[in-house]
Symmetry: C2
Subunit: 284 residues, 2 copies
């Protein structure tokens, strides 16, 4: 991961903002930002380093994956629009396929085919299943390259999407059925909270289980609301929460929303935060 | 209040960051920021406008006060130190006394006499009591001017202090004894939370009562911790919380602390917030 982070950071005009790794997931997330061309170059170098160092045939972990570099989502920041990110995603995918011969699937706003908006649908079967399916089912073949996946690096799922909050809650139990039951209760696809994806996962190294979530619209379903519900559901099983973690970065607005709600502020906005007001000043 | 805010904003190099008013408190808080000289000038103009427009002999409200401009605290921001703020407080006090003939008390870090560190001690008796006391008890006379207070504007308590969080919780009851009992339980001076000052106050216009607090060190006693305890104590009286409010501005760190604790994040810092990381970038 150090080598991949260094490859990204070696591109002038790109900055690594955050990196997290989890031993049970056997997965790392690196967040980097920059303007269009440097970000595409950094993504290419990250993919090149990943294909050099990671062989999926020997990779084991509880988090689903189809590629050495598994998912490459572009998120609009600053003045960028979603359309900009779609264009960047397509350009990055084309460069990676043409220079590294790793097949590409496009997802979310960058999807080119029906049924590819959802990451889970593209990733179904993971590396081992998808490399078989892609050969026999044209609807599962890559958008660029293929139908055979890369023998060691699989494929890369490249997309453009809104900021999401990756939020995991660890339970003080090793009973995986409890995490799975809670994950099912809260996820949108089972009638739970809107804009919530969730899995129940074992954390073998910690002797616990985890409710692992993606909150794809934290303004619709905020972090603290999901937390409270997981806490309530866990209590019904007689289980407490060991702790939670944010994977990657948390948008400031989600934090301010949680605060205002937690202490029941009658009216609160970003304008009530000292530093937000100071940042807007031009006294200097 | 519009006229006072305009007087402050009329000084180039000063910005008004926030303003709040409460009808029951009959009190307004204006937060402004700037470099040394503009901030002193703005404070002088605010005091001049307050003495012109406010006559304490006809001012009624539930919040204690000794002056038309009651308290003028300077808080270090940016590269400023507490020593800088003490010096600014003394300079502002001298200018106000010499140009407007409003007597000055210095408090907290700017205090010049023992027994004047705490605002409540300086303000004891309020306008009506202090103007009598100052005449007969040298220990209660102003630091600048006096011993007679200004006949309509009283005195100004000028200080230098750390950021505090002014946080009020309104209860769904009109029973003042409940707010007073809760305020007593949580305040530092009665053995409650460290760095918490609190009063139980009636909110006649809303038919409620309020636990009105100053958290003078939000890292020691965070906002959400106080909220939870007030909620718990209110429940013992069978009372729920109607809502809460921040008076003035809230430091970002207090919000991040509350968030991390509320959702039990195992490790969380300002570095986990997207915008904090982006603010630190120099990509442009």
């Amino acid at each position: 991961m150090d080598a991949i982070e260094s490859a990204i950071a070696s591109v002038a005009g790109t900055s690594v903002l955050n990196r997290t790794s989890d031993p049970d997931h056997n997965r790392s997330v690196i967040t980097f930002a920059g303007h269009r061309e440097p970000v595409i170059e950094a993504a290419l170098r990250a993919a090149a380093k990943a294909v050099e160092l990671i062989d999926l045939n020997f990779s084991r972990g509880i988090h689903p994956r189809v590629g050495a570099l598994d998912v490459l989502p572009f998120v609009p920041l600053g003045g960028a629009s979603m359309e900009d990110c779609v264009e960047v995603a397509h350009a990055a995918g084309r460069r990676i396929w043409s220079e590294l011969q790793i097949p590409i699937y496009f997802y979310e706003a960058a999807a080119l085919r029906p049924g590819r908006a959802n990451l889970e649908d593209v990733r179904r079967g993971q590396f081992e299943g998808l490399r078989e399916a892609a050969l026999i089912d044209p609807s599962r073949a890559p958008d660029l390259g293929g139908p055979a996946l890369h023998p060691t690096a699989g494929a890369i799922i490249v997309g453009a999407r809104k900021l999401l909050v990756a939020f995991n809650i660890n339970l003080n139990t090793a009973d995986l059925s409890i995490a799975k039951a809670i994950a099912k209760s809260i996820r949108a696809s089972s009638g739970g909270f809107p804009a919530v994806k969730s899995l129940g996962l074992p954390l073998a190294s910690r002797g616990m289980v985890q409710v692992s979530m993606n909150l794809t619209d934290f303004e619709r379903t905020p972090v603290h609301v999901v937390y409270r519900e997981v806490e309530r559901l866990a209590a019904l099983h007689g289980v407490t929460i060991a702790g939670s973690e944010i994977i990657g970065l948390m948008p400031r607005k989600a934090i301010e929303m949680a605060f205002a709600d937690t202490v029941k502020l009658s009216s609160f906005s970003a304008q009530n935060v000292l530093e937000n007001r100071l940042d807007a000043l031009t006294l200097k």
